[in-house]
Every structure is written in structure tokens, then in C-alpha cells.
Symmetry: C2
Subunit: 316 residues, 2 copies
């Protein structure tokens, strides 16, 4: 199969899922064209999924496709924006048609879940790797920064943390499972949760309305907590027992290194009931884990020594 | 250097070149946010630059940076849109600070030339590779398709074709040169032209006003000619002597395989003077190479046998 045939195969698999009335020119031209809604800002983020780093080596295509989309969408949601469009660039050594078709299936399934449309991409020969750019939309001026937490704000987190740390050691013996099977297991199985990060689009509107600051968790909780107050004179107190962990996850590991793609956000105490309500209505598990402090203190109760760990994960 | 330090180094090198008043949140948050202009469509394209494929192995960073931006911008210009924003994802095996700094310099120089701003990106460990997503803006509904050429339209091409075919065989003995030196040589030296594709932003407004169809040339001229009439009952006649070639370039090679990133476009005969005028005023070399035919014939005068070559370049 040559490139054109591979692209057609992918477009075929993607189907019309999520096709968007505002998409004026889709895949197949030099670039995609979207008629932008008035009074909406454009929100853009790029992520890379490296084979053997962000996904296990030889991971089935559908799982890689799903995970790539979920990773990308996560950054847009963390801005309080609705993910709408994706471009995906795939490099692969050989035109493995089965893997590529499965990859497209996984992309499609995640796009349907996130209500997002693939509007362009690229395929080239190279070591297996995917980069995805997600484009979202948010009402003008309402995107949420990472670092704008206010003193006395509650600190919240969605979902549960620590699946990656638990999954990686046991994955050596893992027998690849299908996407549809794994999707049933994301609330009970650490491997399923690690491979298929949550798509938190049902919770976006709550973030946009109530969050004073937000980031997705990709570099360990301690590093991400720092993001919330970065550049401010503020600090935080975290009730470590309130941090929602997978059972047998080690808190210190989660503080040092977690890429659960869950949302970490702050919100005024006054919104507490509204946030809880929104979590319930959108079927988004949420936990209140602490408070933003007016002073620069970092308190973990019970105490935790994390100063050495707030640099986040580094590839190098 | 860890990732955060590398990102800061890159942002430092990029400086404020091209910083855009509509960029509300730039690099450093989960995603970038742009206040979109009313009545403007969003134009998006993703490209990949693989080390050893799209650029020679061990190519200096500044040349790779420049080339990556030029490649990406080209797709946006081919839509008649103004390239405005870029995200760049770099994977690299080792955090080679000198190479990365030079890469950022090259990105900056090309962004200044294209009047484009880097608004986000990603850096991760992996085989050296760059993917770039370019975002452009065009007045609502005025983006130019590839395949909308009309019968009797003139067929035009910018610049000169064939540099890649001439450059690759002699590059084995090439001693890497600096970006600023090579930028002086793009109209006289095939290696300079191959490494540093043209940035045709000064010609965008002409394309938007007068082009009935447009594509950038990345897969050989014969393949791109097919794009102009794809899905239509039309054909084309090309005066082969009018195709602007580098001296000693072989026409058959250019028909089969050329990635000059020049613009191939069609325009009504009535616009002929206006297009020539625009080319001159914007210092864009342009050549009229043929005519769109109302019938499905493909004529090369003098005759050329190209039927077997219109599948374009395939990586696989």
C-alpha cells in the first residue's frame, strides 16, 4: 500500500464520526478549514506519543490510537475548553495495514467519546511515533490558566491517581486485550486505566464555570500542585488521606510521578456544592484534597517530604 | 538539562519574534489560546520532518528548524491563507543543548520571515523527528481548494523546480554551512534551495484573490497537476519548455518526484496581467506553464510519457 491508499484506509475507518458542520475543508487538501464560531477563542495543544515510552512497545494499534487522542484532549479540557478538532501525524517503519487500521479504529472511538473530529494529518516512514494537535473552543476570555489559584480556594482532583505506577511492573506479563474489552475495565483494572486515560469532556463546563486554575496531571501530583500557584506568593495544604488513589498505589510515587491525565483544579469554597453537583451529574468522580494557602507554605497533612520531587517527570 | 530547562532555552531563543496581540495564552500552559478574528476561518495543517528522510542525517539544527517551519507554512499558503501560528513537537535521543538551541534559532528565523508565531509544542525523548502544526487565517469562505481548476484557466508555478534532485547526489560531500550563509544562496545554489524551501507568504494575497485552485509541490509536478483537476472531467496541457527548472535539472525527474514547496496554481486568463503584476511586486518568480483543458486529456508539449509517474512520492 502506498501513502495515498493508507490515508484512504484511515479516513475510511474514521468514517463520519463526529463530522462537524463547521468543517469546510477536511482531510485531503493541503490543509483543513474550519469556519470559526464568533466570540470563541481558539485553544491549541500538541502532544507526542512515542512507542515504548508513552505506550508499551508493540501495543495494539487501537489502544495507541485511543490513548493518543485521550492524551491530547486532556490539555484542551484543562483549559476549560471543548476539544473539537484533531490533526494526527503518524510515522511508522512499515506500512503495517492491520496495525494502522486498528490505530484508526482507536482514534475514532476516542473521538466519538470526546466529540472531536480528525481534520488532517500526515503519514511518513520513520520510527513508530504519533504526534497529535488538538484544537478546542472556549468562550472569549474564559480559558482557565494553570497558575491563577486564589487563596482559600479548594483544591480538587478528578478520578483516581496512580494507575501507571501499578500497571507498568505487571505489564511484562500482559496479554494484549482489545479496546472494547479494556474500555469496560477502566474503573477496576490498572492496566486498562493506564492505557486508556479518562476523557473528561463531560466535566469541561464545570471547569469553565467554576475553576480558578486547572491543569491535567501528567508529571506527578507534587509538580502539578506547583503549577497552580506558580508565579504567585501562595502555597497549599493537601490532606494526603483525601487524595484518591488506586488501592495499593503508593502516595509518594504519585506525588513524584503520575500521568493519570486527571484534572487538578482549584475553585472558590462558595462553589463547593455546585462542583459536587456537577461531578455527580456528569458521572465524573471528584475529590476535594486541600486548600490554597495565602502564604508560600507547602503542607502535606499527614506530613510528606516532597521538596525533592517537584521537578516533575523528565524524559532525559 | 531537564525538559523544563530545555523548553525555557527554546523559548528564550525564539524570543518575542512575531509575538501576536491576539495570542492570549502562549507556551507554558496546558494549551495556547488565541482570540480569533471575526469573519476569519481557521486553516490547519500538520507536517512531519524525519531525520534522514526530510532532512539529511546530522543536519545542523538551525537548518532543520528553518526547513520544518517552511514546509509547514507552505500548506497554509497553498490554501490562500496567512500562516499565523505554529506548534512544534520535537523528539530527540539526547538533550543536545547546542543542537536544540540552533534548532530554535532556525525556527525563529523562518517564523520572522513567514510572520508566524510559535504558540506551543512538546519535547520528548525519541528518535530525532519534528512534527509541526501550522494554523492560518483566511477570510471566511475564501480558502482555495486543490481541485477546483476551471477549463481554460492558466496554470502557473512559483520559483524553480528540481533543486532536491540535484542536491541529494552532491550532498554526500557537503560541508554543513550556517543558516545565514545559506539563506544568501537560495537563488543560486541547489543545496541551499533544497534545505531552505521558499516561504511564499508575500504571494498569499495574490493566490487568495486570483487562484481558482492551488497546491504546493511536494510529490512531483505530474502528481500535483492531477490534484488540480481531481474529481473533475478536466485535463491539462503543459508547455514543458515553460516549466522553470534549475539548470541541469531533468524534467522527467521533476515530473516524477519534486518537493520544491513551490506553489502550483490555476487562474482565469483574465487575471493574467494582475498575477504577473503581483509576482513582480512581491518579488515572487512566477511562470505560466500551461492551460486547463475542458477534456480529460493530459498533454505535454513537447510530448512526455508521465502516466506511470502520477502516483507521487511514497515513503513506503
Amino acid at each position: 500500500m502506498n501513502e495515498v491508499e493508507l490515508i484512504n484506509l484511515i479516513l475510511d475507518r474514521l468514517g463520519t464520526a463526529g463530522r462537524d458542520a463547521r468543517l469546510k475543508i477536511g482531510p485531503g487538501d493541503d490543509a483543513a478549514v474550519v469556519e470559526w464560531e464568533p466570540e470563541q477563542d481558539v485553544v491549541v495543544s500538541t502532544d507526542v506519543c512515542v512507542d515504548g515510552v508513552h505506550v508499551p512497545k508493540d501495543c495494539p494499534g487501537d489502544l495507541v490510537g485511543y490513548r493518543t487522542v485521550a492524551m491530547s484532549v486532556s490539555d484542551i479540557v484543562a483549559m476549560g475548553a471543548v476539544p473539537r478538532y484533531l490533526t494526527i501525524a503518524l510515522t511508522i517503519e512499515q506500512p503495517d495495514v492491520d496495525w494502522i487500521a486498528a490505530f484508526a479504529d482507536g482514534v475514532r472511538d476516542a473521538c466519538v467519546e470526546a466529540d472531536t473530529t480528525v481534520i488532517g494529518g500526515n503519514i511518513a516512514k520513520g520510527v513508530k511515533q504519533i504526534s497529535a494537535t488538538a484544537i478546542g473552543t472556549v468562550r472569549r476570555g474564559q480559558a482557565i490558566h494553570r497558575h491563577t489559584a486564589k487563596p482559600e480556594d479548594d483544591i480538587w482532583v478528578t478520578g483516581r491517581l496512580g494507575a501507571t505506577q501499578l500497571a507498568l511492573p505487571v505489564m511484562t506479563a500482559w496479554i494484549p486485550q482489545g479496546l472494547s474489552e479494556l474500555r469496560q475495565l477502566t474503573s477496576t483494572d490498572v492496566i486498562a486505566r493506564y492505557l486508556l486515560p479518562p476523557i473528561r469532556t463531560p466535566f469541561v463546563e464545570c471547569l469553565r464555570q467554576y475553576a480558578s486554575a486547572c491543569t491535567d496531571i501528567t508529571d506527578g501530583l507534587a509538580f502539578e500542585l506547583e503549577q497552580l500557584i506558580s508565579g504567585s506568593p501562595h502555597g497549599y495544604r493537601v490532606e494526603t488521606d483525601e487524595i484518591p488513589l488506586w488501592s495499593s498505589a503508593v502516595l509518594d510515587d504519585v506525588l513524584a510521578n503520575d500521568d493519570s491525565y486527571e484534572m487538578l483544579f482549584t475553585s472558590s469554597k462558595e462553589n463547593r456544592e455546585a462542583v459536587l453537583h456537577y461531578g455527580k451529574n456528569s458521572h465524573t468522580p471528584i475529590s476535594r484534597i486541600g486548600t490554597v494557602l495565602p502564604t508560600a507554605d507547602r503542607e502535606f497533612v499527614p506530613a510528606r517530604e516532597v521538596q525533592s520531587r517537584i521537578t516533575g517527570f523528565s524524559h532525559f
